[in-house]
């Protein structure tokens, strides 16, 4: 068990009466990219949010089961969700930049975590993060402009920059490239590959190609169930479950 970065056992999630995640077991390895795939509404985002307890903010959401990161039960009362989330960063499905300047958006995390000793440190972190998120060129002349005035794809990259600026150990990315053009997508995928060297990345994507390209492991969700989980190659070439099979083959292009 110590090999796994995250291990979830018998996870159930309910939104009120709606049973959104049904008895999911999954082990996520360190220094690996894991892709969550599955039809829209199957529970990918929901499960992702259980991993850093973001679902705590939804009143009607209830989680059962056992989720451990580095062997520690993250739903243990002793665990501070704040520390957890610093360790497990997240990029949300809908870009949600703060109504602040681009600079402040990225600098926010490092500031609250005290990652920069001084202003120039901070400047450096901001620049590096924006560069990695492939936004530096577009943003460098307007760091003081509000982040909410960016285009959809730019906002998405801003949120990626914001998330990596705090240097989390695990990065949860909910469709981080949905609004990005192929080139920007490639850059983000490069970033993911780079992050994998030291961290663990979980990415939700609807693009089979992307999943195949960036991930080593793939989990296929369907109607709240984890249908199949394994090596990406295997899932895409030789799935075990007929549902996986049909989902993958039903793909287009």
């Amino acid at each position: 068990m110590t090999d796994y970065k995250i291990s979830a056992k018998g996870v159930q999630v309910y939104y009120g009466d709606n049973h959104a995640i049904k008895d999911v077991d999954v082990q996520i390895e360190d220094k690996t990219v894991t892709a969550f795939i599955g039809p829209s509404g199957c529970g990918k985002s929901t499960f992702l949010r259980t991993l850093n307890r973001m679902n705590d903010t939804i009143d009607i959401c209830r989680v059962e089961g056992d989720i451990r990161i580095d062997g520690e039960d993250i739903y243990d009362p002793a665990v501070d969700p704040v520390q957890l989330r610093a360790k497990v960063g997240m990029v949300f499905q809908k870009p949600n930049p703060f109504p602040k300047s681009i600079y402040d958006n990225v600098a926010y995390g490092p500031k609250i975590h005290g990652l920069a000793r001084n202003k120039s440190d901070l400047d450096e972190i901001v620049e590096k993060s924006l560069r990695k998120a492939a936004l530096w060129n577009e943003a460098k002349d307007r760091l003081d402009a509000p982040g909410t005035g960016l285009s959809g794809g730019q906002q998405q990259r801003l949120c990626i920059a914001r998330a990596i600026a705090t240097a989390p150990e695990v990065l949860l990315m909910d469709e981080p490239c949905s609004a990005l053009d192929p080139i920007a997508t490639a850059q983000v995928e490069e970033l993911i590959d780079e992050l994998r060297q030291s961290y663990s990345v979980v990415i939700v994507t609807h693009s089979m190609q992307q999943a195949a390209r960036v991930s080593q492991k793939t989990a296929f969700f369907h109607l709240g169930n984890l249908v199949e989980y394994g090596e990406t190659d295997k899932i895409f070439t030789n799935p075990e479950d007929p549902r996986t099979e049909s989902y993958i083959s039903g793909r287009i292009g």
Binding site: D70, E72, V79, D80, V82, Q83, I112, H113, G114
Partner: protein, 437 residues
């Protein structure tokens, strides 16, 4: 596991500890702030209720009285008719006291003094309403004098009675004998809510009837005018008006109106509504109009603030399916802004309901005994003289008889109940509209 640069989740690192401490402090500040507010509220409410709860009960003395037709005729021909009726009451009281042997060593004048100055008027009204009572004996329920009433509410004691010029210890003893005899009783004081004000000599008879009506009328005017006008103005300024220097001026102007002392609205009301428009002085209509102008800035400022806080994506969504700007505002933005609007309305109305100063200049800070009709042919809608609850509080706190302190607190309790009832609806609606997304 030791590879984790963030360390264990189960043990907090120093920085997290510090931040969590800050978090706790922040939370504590929040709780403390609510604590302060609630503590202050409790303190105020306790003192109001401690002072005023007793006004909801009142002491009455009841004994049989006989009056003949000739006596009635004689009384009706005097200048002070009520004075003559008083004499008859005194005869009746004396007869009762000697029959039950209660008077003992109390001087007769002291015994008479235990009955309220209102008694003559009560009696006269009763006789005029029941002329057939002439020549018969009937039981009269009369108000006890304010000091005697105070004795049963702890305001007057045997010790203070020695010093007090308006009551003697002998009276208190007699009162106790009357109580033992069942002639003196304390009962729920309905009259407090229905009686009009009474003069300084009769605190025991003073009630809130006129004030409640006046406040009711004024609030009707304020609610019917201030809320729609305020919301309409805010919608125009926030959603439709071009953002230019003219709207800037209007914005500053409205913020400035909020800072105008309320008495200045009284000056304005006197000039415009009474001197120019020739509405009736002392009328709830004018009062309501003045309070409307005074409340408008509060409602506009809070409504604009809430409209501002609705995210533009909602407006976009509505416009995108072909809703007009007007429709997007009325169908989507306004319902979402409703909690803030209602809060502004609650606060504005609370202020209007409790305001005295502007009423001073338009003649509503007054002694009014006649119930104002909502509509009359001569005075029009809400045109008859009235007071208001805060005015009654203000008046009563200025009176010399300490019994009015209790009445004033009772009036405040009534005012707050009034306010709570008015707020209940707004609070209910606010809960309905409140949502997060």
């Amino acid at each position: 596991m030791s590879t984790s640069k963030h360390g264990s989740l189960l043990t907090l690192d120093a920085r997290t500890k510090k931040r969590n401490a800050a978090e706790k402090r922040f939370r504590a500040y929040g709780l403390g702030a609510i604590g302060i507010a609630v503590a202050a509220l409790t303190m105020l409410l306790v003192s109001i209720i401690a002072n005023g709860a007793s006004s909801f009960r009142q002491t009455y003395i009841s004994f049989p009285v006989t009056i003949s037709a000739e006596e009635i005729e004689a009384a009706e021909s005097a200048l002070l008719k009520t004075g003559a009726y008083n004499k008859i009451i005194q005869t009746g009281l004396l007869a009762y006291l000697s029959e039950r042997d209660l008077l003992q060593d109390t001087p007769e004048a002291d015994a008479f003094g235990m009955i309220s100055g209102e008694a003559g008027s009560t009696f006269r009204k009763f006789i005029l309403a029941n002329p057939q009572a002439a020549g018969t004996t009937f039981q009269l329920d009369l108000l006890a004098n304010g000091r005697i009433d105070g004795y049963y509410k702890g305001r007057v004691t045997a010790e203070t009675a020695v010093l007090d010029k308006n009551v003697t210890p002998l009276q208190l003893e007699l009162a106790d004998r009357l109580a033992a005899d069942g002639a003196l009783v304390k009962q729920f004081n309905f009259d407090f809510f229905t009686n009009p004000d009474a003069s300084d000599q009769r605190p025991e008879a003073a009630g809130l009837g006129v004030a409640i009506l006046g406040s009711l009328y004024m609030m009707a005017v304020v609610l019917c005018l201030a809320l729609p006008i305020g919301v309409a103005a805010s919608i125009y300024l926030e959603e439709f008006a071009k953002k230019n220097w003219i709207t800037d001026i209007i914005e500053v102007n409205i913020a400035n109106l909020a800072a105008v002392p309320s008495i200045v609205y009284g000056i304005l009301g006197l000039a415009i509504f009474i001197n120019f428009a020739e509405f009736n002085q002392s009328s709830p209509l004018v009062g309501g109009l003045v309070l409307t102008l005074m409340t408008l800035p509060t409602i506009i400022i809070s409504t604009r603030a809430s409209l501002k806080s609705i995210p533009p994506s909602i407006r976009d969504a509505a416009l995108g399916v072909g809703a007009s700007k007007m429709q997007s505002v009325f169908h989507h933005v306004l319902p979402l802004a409703a909690p803030g609007i209602l809060t502004g309305t609650i606060i504005g109305l609370a202020q209007a309901l409790g305001e005295t100063a502007p009423l001073l200049l338009i003649g509503m800070v007054a002694f009014v005994k006649e119930y104002p009709a909502a509509y009359s042919d001569t005075a029009g809608l809400f045109g008859e003289a009235a007071t208001a609850l805060p005015v009654q509080v203000f008046n009563w706190t200025q009176r010399s008889d300490p019994a009015f302190v209790e009445r004033a607190s009772g009036a405040i309790i009534t005012l707050l109940i009034f306010l709570l009832m008015m707020n209940a609806l707004a609070i209910f609606l606010r809960k309905k509209f409140e949502r997060r997304w």
